[in-house]
């Protein structure tokens, strides 16, 4: 097999992405320390280079040159496997994330006239159906991940309408576009600008139809890194961190996936490139489904072990949590994995809800090389904004207790995600405008808040008696159970 242009471009792309990703991780640690410092009225690291910009390099050298200790009491195989899994899963999960413009899969538009819609609701005879299906074989062979249209007859009518529309306008039909899209890279027609900067797909693995599912599947493997690290360390604190972490990560995976279901339903695809394309054409998902965005961002915080959900690490309680026994480069690998995960999830938030590389909703960007560079910069900028948001939240909210953490996901996020999904399904089924989702989404939140506000507490808090005054300071608190009954 001849290795063509696309092979080499992919190889170069992978090398660049891995390099940039790890460099970004190193600088994210500096950013984290700087933002932490600023939020606490401090200056942060400023000794290595101007404003401390060489600090990550110094840290890297330190990590590399430090003695690589493997404590004698650990389970060596799993101990080494922990950081390996942590870093490799988070790097793998990035494979399907588009970090720039891509060629989205073609979209089948509904071009039916009212008459055809009427016809498509009529039941079909077997012969008619056979005849219609025979014309669609080419489409059937190439269509992947199709969820619309739902019935054979509807499909036939929609395709026929699309063909007629294409013929009338002289544009390629859906089936032709699909054929081009699925063609091998170097067999594409001329107008794909082969070999130019615009033809590059800015994603390591382009055209992955399961996109987001792949991302979640690989991302959820990251729990093994934490769990193995915690368990194999043979240390109670590490063990506690690992156990908490597994429970937390598994629980938060549910609202994480649930909140995205609504987005998948409206855009009709799991492919992240198609989701961006849908938002570019129809407006950002955050406008229509703010509740889903909120749930997704909250779950992402937990998935990344970020405050206020950083129970696996919990420096104040567990020393370092699952990485207590790790030092030197193995410790750095855990960090690398964590920050790569942060970058990936930030990209996901941007792609799923904030329009990917689009600057503002419904805003056209210029084409050509300028457009490519602009889009790359915009999506990276949005990702950076989200990471800064992560870091600011860290210094805003106190950490959850473990039962509160579990209560939040099972009693709050999960039901809300289900309600959101029901709203989206209802809108899709009733064929209503997507704008209905905005009031529905916000209304759900308010109604749920009102309902929980008026729910009777299981254990009403007894009033407390503040009595007298000690010479100075706050009044003494007298707990008087008998007095409560009066």
């Amino acid at each position: 097999m001849e290795l063509g242009f696309s092979f080499w471009i992919s190889l170069i792309l992978i090398a660049i992405v891995m390099g940039v990703l790890q460099g970004t991780c190193a600088y994210l640690i500096l950013a984290e320390r700087k933002i932490s410092a600023w939020a606490q009225d401090r200056l942060g690291p400023n000794r290595v280079g101007p404003w401390g910009i060489l600090q990550p390099i110094a840290d890297g050298i330190k990590f590399l040159l430090k003695e690589d200790i493997i404590p004698s009491h650990v389970d060596k195989l799993f101990y080494l496997l922990g950081p390996t899994i942590a870093v490799s899963t988070s790097l793998l999960a990035f494979a399907v994330v588009p970090f720039g413009p891509t060629t989205p899969p073609p979209v089948l538009e509904d071009r039916r006239t009212d008459e055809m819609i009427q016809n498509s609701r009529q039941p079909m005879s077997v012969e008619e159906r056979k005849e219609l299906l025979a014309t669609n074989t080419a489409y059937r062979e190439q269509s992947r991940g199709r969820i619309w249209p739902q019935t054979d007859s509807e499909e036939a009518y929609v395709l026929a309408a699309d063909r007629a529309y294409a013929k009338a306008n002289g544009t390629p039909s859906y089936e032709q576009r699909l054929e081009t899209y699925n063609a091998p890279y170097d067999q594409r027609p001329k107008d794909y600008n082969l070999g130019t900067i615009e033809s590059i797909q800015y994603v390591i693995a382009p055209h992955v139809d399961i996109g987001i599912v792949f991302n979640f599947a690989i991302g959820s493997l990251a729990v093994y890194g934490v769990l193995l690290g915690g368990w194999s360390s043979n240390n109670k604190y590490s063990m506690l961190g690992g156990l908490r972490s597994s429970a937390q990560l598994i629980s938060y995976e549910i609202p994480l996936g649930m909140s995205v279901l609504g987005v998948m339903l409206v855009s009709g695809s799991l492919n992240l490139e198609a989701i961006i394309d849908y938002q570019v054409k129809h407006g950002w998902n955050v406008i229509f489904q703010p509740l889903a965005a909120l749930l997704f961002i909250t779950s992402v915080f937990a998935e990344c072990n970020r405050l206020p959900f950083d129970l696996p690490e919990a420096e104040q309680e567990l020393i370092g949590g699952y990485h207590t026994e790790y030092s030197a480069m193995k410790f750095a690998l855990f960090f690398l994995g964590e920050y790569t995960h942060m970058i990936t999830t930030s990209f996901l938030v941007v792609i799923l809800f904030f329009g990917g590389w689009q600057l503002l909703p419904w805003l056209e960007l210029p084409g050509g090389v300028t457009g490519v560079i602009l889009k790359l910069l915009i999506i990276a900028g949005k990702m950076a904004l989200f990471i800064i948001f992560y870091m600011l939240i860290r210094w805003t909210l106190p950490r959850f207790r473990f039962d509160q953490l579990m209560g939040l996901t099972w009693k709050v996020l999960l039901p809300l995600a289900l309600l959101n999904l029901v709203c989206v399904i209802a809108i899709k089924q009733l064929n209503q405008s997507e704008w209905w989702l905005l009031p529905l989404s916000l209304g759900t939140l308010v109604v749920v808040a009102l309902v929980t506000l008026n729910m009777p507490r299981q254990r009403p808090r007894a009033p407390v008696r503040f009595a007298g005054h000690v010479a100075s300071g706050p009044p003494a608190v007298v707990h008087d159970d008998d007095a409560v009954l009066k």
Partner: protein, 200 residues
Amino acid sequence: MPIADSDVKWVSTPKIGLFEQLYVPAIFQGLQTTVRHATKTLFGGGAITQQFPEVEPKLPPNYRGVHRLNRDEQGRVKCVACYMCSTACPAHCIDIVAAPSPWSDREKYPETFVIDELRCIYCGMCEQACPVDAIELTTLYDLSGMSREEMMFDKEKLLSVFDETVKSGTDPIRTRAGRLGVASELPTDTGLTSSSSAQS
């Protein structure tokens, strides 16, 4: 005595309204504070950090740092070798060897006076115990040495700390805190000025 009913105030848990129950606006309120601090530090120079090696911190005059042995008006060591400080010391870091005083106004003086600065916990009890205000803790804080021996401060070293702090005007505040202790005042009525008669 029971607390009077008029003094008792009943306090219940504040009622949470819709605004708080929604969480999100409350989180954004919190974010406002965080962002305000971050931007103020970043752009307004609101950082409270002191850049230590370049900027020396100004410590309060009652800071308890390195010890010094005070001199009297004639430049002699003020200490009368009474062992009160070494007795009071909880870390047992003061080692005094007393000798008969060469001067007529006191019986004894310290022949050697060594403080192990590594062992000292800087509690200031020596200072409180001293009847003649001879030992004091200064505001010097950047104490370091290359060996343990170097950190054993002897009489000369402690006196030089006094000279240094007097020169730089960083006398500890306790020097001017009040009158000296009873033992520092010489008996005047019996005219006991020689050390031999003071023993009777």
